[in-house]
């Protein structure tokens, strides 16, 4: 029995990790700007999945056009961004202005999550569509262009998602460093009072951060639609756990580390669990006579275990680690040999 998973599984794990990375990045962003832990974040991403599903049903069914990879994330991202801003403006900001604590705001996001989940389920059930029942019931992986990697036909979304994550992260980085509104956003994160003394409209910055966060979630959700065995909005309840794990591993102090934390946790859940399962069954079961059970269903143990390990060694998350001094020490150790 092979210890390392095959190429198809590895690619789909990478795609999942990239999607979690985008979600953790957005979650970290709104936490940094407005100090609200958004438990509706994964369900907001699910808006993107539903938009993708409707797009396939109405426009792309049977066409296998690559355009779906542009229009899907764009439309899904915009829809999710719109909801995200609405949720902040209509519910969270009024609550924060009335002096609600972080706990109160967190509970409010949980409430929004449940309402949104029901709305999405309703949309799936009542919107008339020729193919929607088929799309909901079956795996929608078939409704995408095919691609060949190293002689194997793979699901093209598994290539597109990591690339899209890199592109989105790069564009966002350029926005934050090259535009004056982006610099104002970073300035506001560090010191909102000083930023407002410089004439920055801090409330506008907060709204834009919710829009970006929603867009990243919706785009990731749209592409992840291909991974679902039938679209069921309720999977967001599981995904949100992983997204928080990723953000916490990253440290909740830097959006870049949020992205990296999300990718690491996503990889640990998929590749990590499978590799451990394979090793368990190849070595421990025969030699120690342990029960021959599958460990692959214990994904969340991996992600939450990773959170505990990282926090034990780096209480501020990966962002708080002094990487420069570690690199210097490694270099010195190498030089000393």
């Amino acid at each position: 029995m092979a210890i390392l998973p095959g190429i198809t599984y590895t690619l789909s794990s990478l795609a999942y990790a990239a999607a979690i990375g985008l979600l953790s990045m957005g979650l970290t962003l709104t936490y940094l700007t407005t100090r609200i832990p958004n438990f509706a974040h994964a369900t907001i991403g699910m808006i993107g999945s539903i938009v993708m599903l409707l797009l396939i049903d109405r426009v792309f069914y049977g066409s296998q056009s690559w355009l779906i990879y542009l229009l899907g994330p764009l439309a899904g991202g915009v829809a999710a961004a719109a909801f995200s801003v609405l949720m902040y403006r209509a519910i969270l900001k009024p609550l924060a202005d009335r002096g609600n604590s972080i706990i109160g705001l967190m509970i409010a996001t949980l409430a929004v999550d449940i309402i949104l989940l029901n709305i999405l389920t309703l949309i799936l059930n009542v919107v008339p569509g020729e193919n929607i029942p088929k799309l909901i019931g079956a795996n929608i992986i078939g409704f995408q262009p095919k691609i060949r990697v190293a002689g194997v036909v793979v699901d093209s979304y598994t290539i597109i998602l990591p690339v899209a994550a890199l592109v989105l992260a790069t564009v966002f980085h350029l926005f934050l460093t090259r535009t004056s509104f982006g610099v104002a956003m970073r300035a506001t994160i560090e010191n909102p009072d000083l930023a407002s003394a410089m004439g920055v409209n801090v409330n506008l910055v907060y709204m834009v951060s919710w829009a970006f966060s929603g867009f990243l979630a919706g785009a990731a959700g749209a592409l992840m639609a291909f991974a679902f065995k039938g679209v069921d909005p309720a999977v967001s309840a599981l995904v949100i756990v992983t997204v928080f794990a990723g953000s916490i591993v990253g440290g909740l102090t830097s959006i870049y580390w949020g992205l990296i934390g999300g990718v690491l946790v996503g990889l640990a859940e998929k590749l990590g669990t499978t590799i451990i399962n394979n090793m368990y069954r190849a070595f421990l079961v025969p030699s120690l006579g342990l029960p021959n059970i599958s460990l692959v269903n214990y994904e969340k143990v991996m992600s939450l275990g990773l959170v505990i390990i990282v926090l034990l060694y780096a209480p501020q998350g990966l962002a708080g680690v002094d990487w420069e001094s570690i690199l210097r020490r490694i270099k010195r150790a190498r030089g000393g040999e």
Binding site: S180, V183, A184, R186, A187, I189, E190, N191, D193, L194, A195, S196, A197, M198, G199, V200
Partner: protein, 239 residues
């Protein structure tokens, strides 16, 4: 000389915490007004009140004869008041260049460029630090960067909260020289809160002594310095 800023019988604090009581203060154009007093006497709170960061229960704040008591901080900044807080007066996670860019926020691009060039002439060391993160600057350099950022907006009044706190003597001296220069060369009005009473009272024109949220002395700075009783009791000034 005309009065630039004036507080009349101001009572202010944070929420329900009433910190300063019936405070009257005025600063005239081109003067250095020094504010001294023991820890917790309300010096920082007074500066914040003039900038609009506290709750004002009663009294008025006038800036160039205009009542600004109810104006928010960013409006006061636009009118020409700069406030350099004790800590957090620059964006440490941004580069020096980005800090200056933030100071230009909302200015027209051509104006912004000219103003940045102007302050770089005033603070030439910043040239070499433009792409460094502001957190790599020394304490004194940070104060000077904060000053540069304030100057970009061409304020009429600059309020410093303990600009020399925690600085080595040489860096402190440089900061103080720059404050005097702001008055001499640019004709700015300055309110200067200082822990090192002797230093500030020697340089200042007028002074306020705050004790428990009230004004305990108002008058020429040198006279406060010469007052043995007040000096020994509140300021740790010997002889």
């Amino acid at each position: 000389m005309s009065v630039v800023v004036k507080a009349e019988k101001v009572n202010a604090g944070y929420g329900r915490f009433h910190i300063i009581f019936d405070v009257d203060v005025e600063a005239r154009r081109g003067e250095i007004l020094v504010i001294v007093g023991p820890n917790g006497s309300g010096k920082s709170t007074l500066l914040k009140t003039i900038f609009g960061l506290t709750r004002i229960y009663s009294g008025r704040i006038l800036f160039e004869e205009r009542d600004i008591t109810r104006e928010p901080p960013h409006v006061r900044a636009k009118l020409g008041i700069a406030y350099l807080p004790q800590t957090g007066n620059i964006f440490t996670e941004l580069s020096v260049k980005e800090n200056l860019k933030m100071a230009c926020y909302g200015l027209e691009a051509s104006v912004a460029e000219e103003r940045v060039r102007e302050v770089l002439e005033f603070f030439p060391f910043l040239w070499y630090k433009l792409s460094s993160k502001a957190k790599t600057l020394s304490g004194g350099q940070r104060q000077l960067l904060a000053m540069a950022m304030a100057l970009i907006r061409r304020p009429k009044l600059l309020m410093f909260d303990e600009p020399t706190a925690g600085l080595a003597p040489k860096a402190a001296k440089e900061v103080v020289e720059k404050i005097l220069w702001l008055r001499e060369e640019l004709g700015k009005t300055i309110i200067w809160v200082e822990q090192n009473a002797r230093l500030a009272l020697e340089k200042g024109d007028n002074a306020i002594l705050m004790v428990s949220g009230r004004v305990a002395y108002r008058g020429p700075a040198r006279e406060l310095l010469a007052d043995r009783e007040l000096g020994r009791k509140y300021l740790g000034v010997k002889g």
